[in-house]
């Protein structure tokens, strides 16, 4: 007991070493988000949702948060309600405006200020992602995915995006996606996007429960940027279906500060979605 109290005296109830992997993922993403940016959050993306709330509450009072169709600024609120759907009335009541899906595409001029998160059933070394399915024959897939949602268009147009995956396995990280629903860096090379005339900035980070990957500036091939505490480089490589570029020293992903963890647990993720 005495030791516990001493630890509490040092960092309070929000001891960074108690952060879950998903809380570490959300914190890493939040640290990348800048005030004034427009954050598009899709359904079933708890890490991304908490990341944007954390950023909004900690350093982004001018961010615009778009949960599916509901656009809000909640910097003045103690707690941002956790939407189950962005079109749910209980979420829209916090919004300043609402757009149905079709009209969202009527103005993409400011989408370079937009950031969003892409999931996938597969990702390849160049950050191309697949929500279509797994198999050789599109008419008889071994695994039928949910479909591309809006990711093909968002990945084409937004200023940057992050690939966020709930699992990191050799089945997910494949040398080549069976199908590509969101074009990342194609076959690689710094001009992979500009040569197709894609205005968006492409994927910046790939964040998983094991670590953080980014893309080499010249080749745009995925490399290991950091490993989460307690995860070894060997474990990450063993769970990746292609050779990751690994530097001589791979740092650990930074933990949230006690202040960040307090925001996560008391305001951004009160339901504890990232702790289970």
């Amino acid at each position: 007991m005495a030791n516990d109290n001493a630890a509490e005296g040092q960092s309070g109830p929000f001891d960074p070493t108690t952060a879950s992997r998903q809380e570490i993922m959300a914190t890493f993403l939040a640290n990348d988000l800048e005030d004034g940016e427009i954050l598009q959050i899709g359904a079933a993306m708890p890490v991304g949702e908490v990341a944007v709330r954390l950023a909004h509450f900690s350093h982004g009072p001018n961010m615009e948060l778009i949960f599916i169709g509901a656009r809000m600024n909640a910097a003045h609120l103690d707690v941002l309600p956790t939407p189950e759907f962005g079109w749910d009335r209980r979420t829209v009541r916090w919004a300043e405006s609402y757009s149905d899906t079709g009209h969202r595409f009527d103005r993409v001029k400011d989408w370079h200020r937009r950031v969003f998160f892409v999931g996938g059933v597969q990702v390849d070394p160049y950050g191309n992602t697949n929500l279509i399915g797994v198999g050789d024959d599109h008419r008889r897939l071994r695994f039928r995915g949910p479909g591309s949602v809006g990711t093909s268009t968002l990945a084409t147009l937004v200023g940057r995006y992050h690939i966020v995956l709930n699992s990191h396995t050799a089945r997910t990280f494949v040398p080549r996606c069976d199908f590509v629903s969101a074009y990342g860096w194609g076959q690689g090379g710094a001009d992979a996007r500009t040569k197709l005339g894609l205005p968006g900035g492409g994927p910046k980070y790939c964040v998983t429960p094991l670590g953080v990957m980014d893309f080499a500036p010249d080749t745009k091939r995925m490399r290991l940027r950091s490993r989460h505490p307690g995860v070894s480089v060997e474990e990450i490589q063993a769970n990746t279906g292609f050779d990751l570029d690994v530097g001589r020293e791979v740092p650990t992903t930074p933990l949230p500060t006690p202040a960040q963890l307090e925001i996560i647990r008391t305001r951004a993720d009160r339901r504890g979605a990232l702790r289970h």
């Binding site: 595409f105 479909g147 949602v149």
Partner: protein, 300 residues
């Protein structure tokens, strides 16, 4: 020339249609668009009619139910998620993997573009989203083109022209002037503009006078048919009226998942019998669900 007598005998045509009559607008092989919130009263009626070989522009579990009931040959969907029950809706997943349905692979921006082309009477419209992806390979209707103005690489999306669109909204008057509560449905305005005919089922019929009190709020002018359907989006949400019935959608997902993962369709057949085939009308359906379950949804 009209005579005075002729003019005075003319009355404005009302568009209120009984659900069973409206369902006869949908027949085998048509392209049917279903909105979000899902027009479930009409969907159940269409299933009871035994319509086959539909191409469905839709998404989510409402589309999945049509597949489970054997009505669908082809889907035009950007997302068929399983709600809280899983990443992919179970009947869609099984039917696609077995090759029982054809998937017209698309995406939100691409689907919107095709609907817009149909609404504007154009053979296609260009869209940039999806350039570089597999979408044009797995869906040969999407053509990669070089634009004649600036030479950019774009995707030509053909017009998507539903025979019938079915939507759910808050209110309408007898003439098909529809007003949504809390903004129009997800792609609904685009479906209505693209379709030959549109049926809108509503929570409530209101007077023309109430519509005229706030014409700015009219989201769809002149729907071809209006169907009375209080709680008609159940088990899904209807903004301003009720929230999604998660216990009920879970019931469906469990039954459909069991049918998809084994050859045992008994749970799913039981579900379809109890909630789709046996109720002859929407009123019968609401009785089968039960008033306690329904009013529990009528809160924040």
């Amino acid at each position: 020339m009209n005579t005075g007598a002729h003019v005075s005998s003319a009355t404005r045509h009302e568009n209120i249609v009984e659900e069973a009559d409206a369902a006869t607008w949908v027949s085998d092989g048509m392209i049917l668009a279903i909105g979000d919130p899902a027009p479930m009263a009409m969907i159940r009626q269409i299933i009871r009619r035994g319509v086959k070989e539909l191409t469905v522009v839709g998404s989510g579990l409402a589309l999945d139910l049509l597949i489970a009931a054997g009505c669908v040959r082809r889907t035009m969907a950007y997302y068929v998620g399983g709600g809280s029950g899983g990443a992919v809706a179970p009947s869609f997943r099984r039917a696609a993997e077995q090759g029982e349905i054809e998937v017209w692979e698309c995406e939100e921006g691409i689907l919107t573009t095709g609907l817009r082309a149909a609404a504007q009477g154009l053979p296609f419209l260009p869209w940039r989203g999806g350039v570089g992806t597999s979408l044009p390979e797995v869906n040969p209707d999407l053509k990669v083109i070089v634009d004649p103005i600036k030479g950019q690489t774009l995707i030509a999306v053909p017009a998507i022209e539903p025979d019938v669109a079915i939507l759910h909204a808050a209110v309408s008057d007898a003439y098909g002037n529809v007003q949504h509560c809390g903004g129009p449905g997800w792609l609904d305005l685009f479906l209505q503009r693209a379709a030959d005919r549109t049926i809108v089922q509503v929570e409530k019929i209101i007077s023309n006078e109430e519509i005229r009190a706030n014409p700015w709020a009219t989201t769809i002018a002149r729907a071809d048919a209006v169907v009375r359907a209080p709680y008609g989006a159940h088990p899904f949400y209807s903004r301003g009226y009720y929230v999604q019935d998660r216990a009920f959608t879970r019931l469906y997902v469990e039954a459909a998942s069991a049918a998809a993962s084994s050859e045992d369709r008994s749970l799913l057949d039981h579900f379809l019998a109890r909630y789709v085939y046996e109720p002859q009308t929407h009123g019968d359906y609401l009785e089968a669900v039960g008033v306690k379950q329904l009013i529990a949804l009528y809160e924040y």
